[in-house]
Amino acid sequence: MLTVTDLNVWFGYPPDRVDAVKAASFTVAQGESFGLVGESGSGKSTILRAITGLIDTWSGQIEVAGQAVAGRKRDRAFHKTVQMVFQDPYASLHPRHSVDRVLSETLKLQGMDDIDGRISRLLNDVGLGKGFRFRYPHQLSGGQRQRVAIARALAAEPKLLLLDEPTSALDVSVQAEILNLLTDLRAEHGLTYVMVSHDLAVVGHMCDRLAVMRGGRIEEIMTVDQLRHAGATQDYTRHLIAASAGYERS
């Protein structure tokens, strides 16, 4: 579904050039759920942004569903295949567009028909009733906003969903609801996920395999089983697992 080979992403020009991602390679199979974990600044979100064409300073190969992409240009078929959900539902929805407008705009851009029916179905899919259709973002809670953002991503009927920290701005109780929703949607629509998170437990819950990143490099690619059963081979991964287990009072 997704193949990334020797991906380099950089910002700025020498001597201030920053290499945000260095020689990252991974593949995600159809129907798989793949996690990218690491600390802030490790380049995990940057990979997603390079895939979606939000950054053009990259080299290497990115193939989505067998099609290579280049630069920033993405064709309509790409947007029908790949959609993204961003971290902060407070920032990713237009404050003066109603839910109806957010979704209908996306549907029109995708050249869909039966927009009215589709909006109802999308809202239903993400567990929001009809009553939410004409609300504005400020009339929604954080969890409800993230549901709208997920509905917007699903509007194009994508195959691959890129999730950039979809629950880190939410309370744990709401996080559980959103993660369950994502699990259900994946089963229903046969989606492939690439999920970025700094929370190992969330990735462990959602994903089959994960890549651990540090300073722009992929340190290790492992299965969640390995993660659970202390199968990490790199010191850094073990350190990260220990740190995320919580605080040991000395």
């Binding site: 600390e39 802030s40 954080g142 309370d171 744990v172 109780s173 709401v174 996080q175 559980a176 609801e177 993660l179 369950n180 699990t183 700094h198 190992l200 437990a201 969330v202 462990g204 819950h205 959602m206 969640v224 993660l227 659970r228 350190h239 990260l240 697992i241 740190a243 995320s244 287990a245 919580g246 605080y247 040991e248 009072r249 000395s250």
Partner: protein, 289 residues
């Protein structure tokens, strides 16, 4: 428990709205000794507002009322601003969530610490500078001279948070209120910052109020935990007993967390009940609150 540093009885914070008065904090009571007290709850549960009310940081039209709010044997409820300023920072300090928003972006870090310290402790610039360097060392910043001359955007989030802690601890307060001090930090940096706070609390015998949404972290870091829901404390327990919590809200929060060592197909979702808003508090602790 030893004598209370801070005693809070029936604290309420009320905001007038068009729909009538809204109580963000509805009758919170606790005594803080020389201990680490965790305050946990979801967003909107009133945990931050409790911290702000203690420091007199609730802005009008918000109103703070309490049967008792005493620091040592002095009442600090609705003190005039001038007297409150003598307490704030000096005797009770607060570390906020995000260092990016609490440090002055156009002032060198050293100058900010020196300013804060002299405001509270007085003294000459040189002595304050020395103290600032010591404080930066105390929070394990390796190159304090360089950091003193840096601007906030030139340091990382974890370092910024340590600088905030250094600044807050410089006047040697009796109580530190930490409002989500590690939520904006990576897990590995988080451990470092917690270690530093832990050490400082232990060595100086401070009382710490640790406000967080992270139940497991609080259970591991604190001595005692208050669980807040809709402006009230619904349960209070010793941190080590958190996993034996009896209140359905606490249990629900714990169960909704994904866990690496305990994989599940679906996460349990919290089923809220209206009765949680008003049922009386459950406590097992000797001496109550």
């Amino acid at each position: 428990m030893t004598t209370a540093l801070l005693s809070v009885q029936n604290l309420r914070v009320t905001f007038p709205t068009r729909q009538g008065a809204f109580q963000a904090v509805r009758g919170v009571s606790f005594d803080l000794g020389r201990e680490r007290l965790g305050v946990v709850g979801e967003s909107g549960s009133g945990k931050s507002m409790t911290g702000r009310a203690i420091l007199g940081l609730v802005r009008p039209p918000g109103r703070v009322t309490a049967d008792r709010l005493t620091l040592g044997d002095q009442s600090i409820l609705n003190l005039p601003e001038r007297q409150m300023r003598a307490i704030r920072g000096n005797r009770i300090s607060m570390v906020m969530q995000d260092p990016k928003f609490s440090l002055n972006p156009v002032m060198r870090i050293g100058d900010q610490i020196i300013e804060a310290y002299r405001l509270h402790a007085g003294g000459g610039r040189d002595a304050a500078r020395q103290k600032a360097l010591d404080m930066l060392r105390a929070v394990q910043i390796r190159d304090p001279e360089r950091v003193m001359g840096a601007y906030p955007h030139e340091v990382s989030g974890g370092m910024g948070q340590r600088i905030m802690i250094a600044m807050m601890l410089a006047p040697d307060p009796e109580i530190l209120i930490a409002d989500e001090p590690t939520s904006a930090l990576d897990v590995s940096v988080r451990t470092e910052v917690l270690n530093i706070m832990d050490g400082l609390v232990r060595d100086r015998g401070m009382g710490l109020i640790f406000i967080s949404h992270d139940l497991n972290l609080v259970a591991q870091f604190c001595d005692r935990v208050l669980i807040m829901y809709a402006g009230r404390v619904v349960e209070t327990l010793a941190a080590k007993d958190l996993h034996n919590a009896r209140h359905p809200y606490t249990q629900g929060l714990l169960n909704s967390l994904p866990r690496l060592d305990h994989p599940v197909e679906r996460l349990a979702v919290l089923q809220r009940q209206d009765s949680w808003r008003d049922v009386p508090l459950q406590t097992d602790l000797p001496g109550g609150l």
